[in-house]
Amino acid sequence: MTAMDTTPDTTAAKARPARPPRFQMLRRTLGTPKGIAGLALLGIVVAMAALAPILFPMGPWAMVGRPYTWPGDGPALLGTDVLGRDMTAAMFWGAQISLLVGLVSASVSLVIGIAVGACAGYFGGRTDAVLMRFTDAVQTVPSFLFTIVIVAVASPTIHSIVLAISLVSWPAVARLMRAEVLSVKKREFVQSCRIIGMTDLRIITTQVIPNALSPVIVIASVLVATAIITEAGLAFLGLGDPNVMSWGTMINLGRPAIRTAWYIALIPGGFVILTVLALNLLGDAINDAFNPHLRKR
């Protein structure tokens, strides 16, 4: 998504002689076939999310016809679901929820993970031991089970789902961050900041974190994708928020009818795959851009 906002206009980019390296990185990301394919697919999903309120102002729940109308049999392009609601509208509105869940939970777990990892790596010693044992504990419990428990505790709403996903997915970020911070804090500029008497908080936020961030950014797309899959899995088990239309909820509704009307479960399933595929392609492209030596030989 960050990549989207800064899609380089090639002519403008050429006109500018000195580009910041980060910008070059983006260009490199988006120039690859993977990057282009990822962006295009993601673009479709983003467009669906954006167009949902315009194309389907009645929301995803409006009942437009007989339940179990197959795609092509009635007015609804993708058929109707178990309650006669338009599957097309559900898919468009569902795109919003999937993206929202993905982005928000990835951001929250990035924030937690970066904070924990940076503190553990920077302070070391006892702080490190305490934080890492805590991280271990969260990681030792199978994450999907843990998500289920948290959602059950808080009862399934979109907020509790996002929170639960964030709460189980930060440890990977924390570990990565810690490893990176351990190497960054040995570097001269951090040492010199210490010597001039900067506070730890300032050093961490202005020096350490920015310089340790790149590998973490690389896994951000994976976090988003995992969050989308987890939400769908929860909804599939009936732990979805009934007041938002998510693809997982639709799969859950369609599952009992899978023999009679498999399209109800498989169409949203296809959209989940599409979105996750787009994110993975983009993630791969970003990864290649960050580690160009692995790209082509």
Binding site: R133, F134, D136, A137, Q139, T140, V141, P142, S143, F144, L145, I148, V149, I150, A152, V153, S155, A225, I229, A232, G233, F236, L237, I251, R255, I258, R259, W262, A265, L266, G269, V272, I273, L274, V276, L277, N280, L281, D284, L294, K296, R297
Partner: protein
């Protein structure tokens, strides 16, 4: 070595304690308790019976006392009692463990084997058409949620084609005998294992392809070639072992994730595993059982992690026992 093991086990104990305390507090924040569920299932309990059951189940003591009691019991190997099952928690968990263990072991073996093979093959054909096609297939597998794979496989192979049984671990009441039972279980496990594996095959394929490509650029591979080692010998004798290192780490993670995390697969294929048990325990508010599952799973995971570390050390002599 002994020092290392002691340290690791000590860490494990701390981790498990954090898990117990954390989950104990978390679970007690849940609305409703076991008695509510029992009353609800039957539909007609009176307040007196509910109160007496709460007293029996130890649900009316204050939280800190229950927590301390619980920890004391766990330390003596007593994971508590699952009232609805009329059995000690450990017994209930142990009954469900074999199904999950089979599922996990089989899918780890399958996915590591096929995934690595695919990855190495793709790395050999890097950037050729075969590699591009394989990578695309792998990417789609990687993007497909496990429950969708499971659903699709069941729809095709059990429902439409009738090749595999729909649900369960064994054919109940089928003939006895170890071989017959094993074959029967095998048939029941094919689809769950395949659906769990497909995603991980994708992971291992990606991982081992990248790792193989990276290893193949290493100087020691060139040395081996300069020594006159055949291409096959280079791949199998020199590159693979190095390329396997990240695969081993991932396999450890996969086991961690699947023990208890295979809820969806167990649900779809009706397998009597711990994941499903844990899921049911959440909704039955059977917290001694849920905590017991978490503890048993954590214990297994700690052991697995230790084994993975030892294996990693065995495979990579550069890793030393530092802690």
């Amino acid at each position: 070595m002994g020092h290392y093991l002691r340290n690791r086990l000590l860490q494990a104990v701390v981790v498990i304690l954090i898990i117990i305390v954390g989950n104990f507090i978390l679970l007690n924040a849940v609305p409703g308790d076991l008695v509510d569920v029992l009353a609800g299932r039957g539909g007609d309990m009176d307040a007196d019976l509910m109160a007496s059951l709460r007293a029996r189940f130890g649900l009316d003591d204050p939280l800190p006392i229950r927590l301390l009691d619980y920890i004391r019991n766990v330390l003596t190997g007593n994971l508590g009692y699952s009232w609805p099952h009329s059995q000690p928690v450990l017994d209930v968990v142990l009954q469900r463990l074999p199904a999950t263990t089979l599922l996990v072991i089989l899918s780890v073996i399958t996915s590591v084997f096929i995934g690595t093979l695919t990855g190495v093959f793709a790395a050999r054909k890097a950037h050729k058409l075969t590699d591009v096609i394989l990578s695309m297939v792998v990417l789609v597998c990687y993007a497909t949620p496990i429950f969708l794979t499971a659903l699709a496989l069941m729809l095709i192979f059990s429902v439409q084609l009738g090749w595999f049984p729909l649900s369960g671990l064994t054919t109940a009441g089928a003939e006895e005998g170890i071989l017959a039972t094993a074959a029967d279980m095998g048939r029941h496990l094919v689809l769950p294992v395949v659906s769990l594996s497909l995603f991980y095959v994708a992971i291992y394929a990606r991982l081992s392809r990248a790792s193989m490509l990276q290893v193949l650029t290493q100087d020691y591979v060139r040395t081996a070639r300069a020594k006159g080692v055949s291409e096959r010998g280079v791949i199998l004798g020199h590159a693979l072992r190095n390329a396997l290192l990240p695969v081993i780490t991932m396999a450890g993670l996969q086991i961690t994730e699947l023990f208890g995390g295979a809820v969806l697969t167990e649900t779809i294929f009706g397998l009597p595993g711990v994941g499903r048990l844990a899921y049911d325990a959440v909704f039955a508010r059977n917290f001694p059982l849920l905590l017991g599952i978490l503890i048993v799973c954590s214990f297994i995971i700690v052991i697995v992690n230790l084994l993975v570390d030892l294996l990693y050390m065995k495979l990579d002599p550069r890793v030393e026992l530092t802690k």
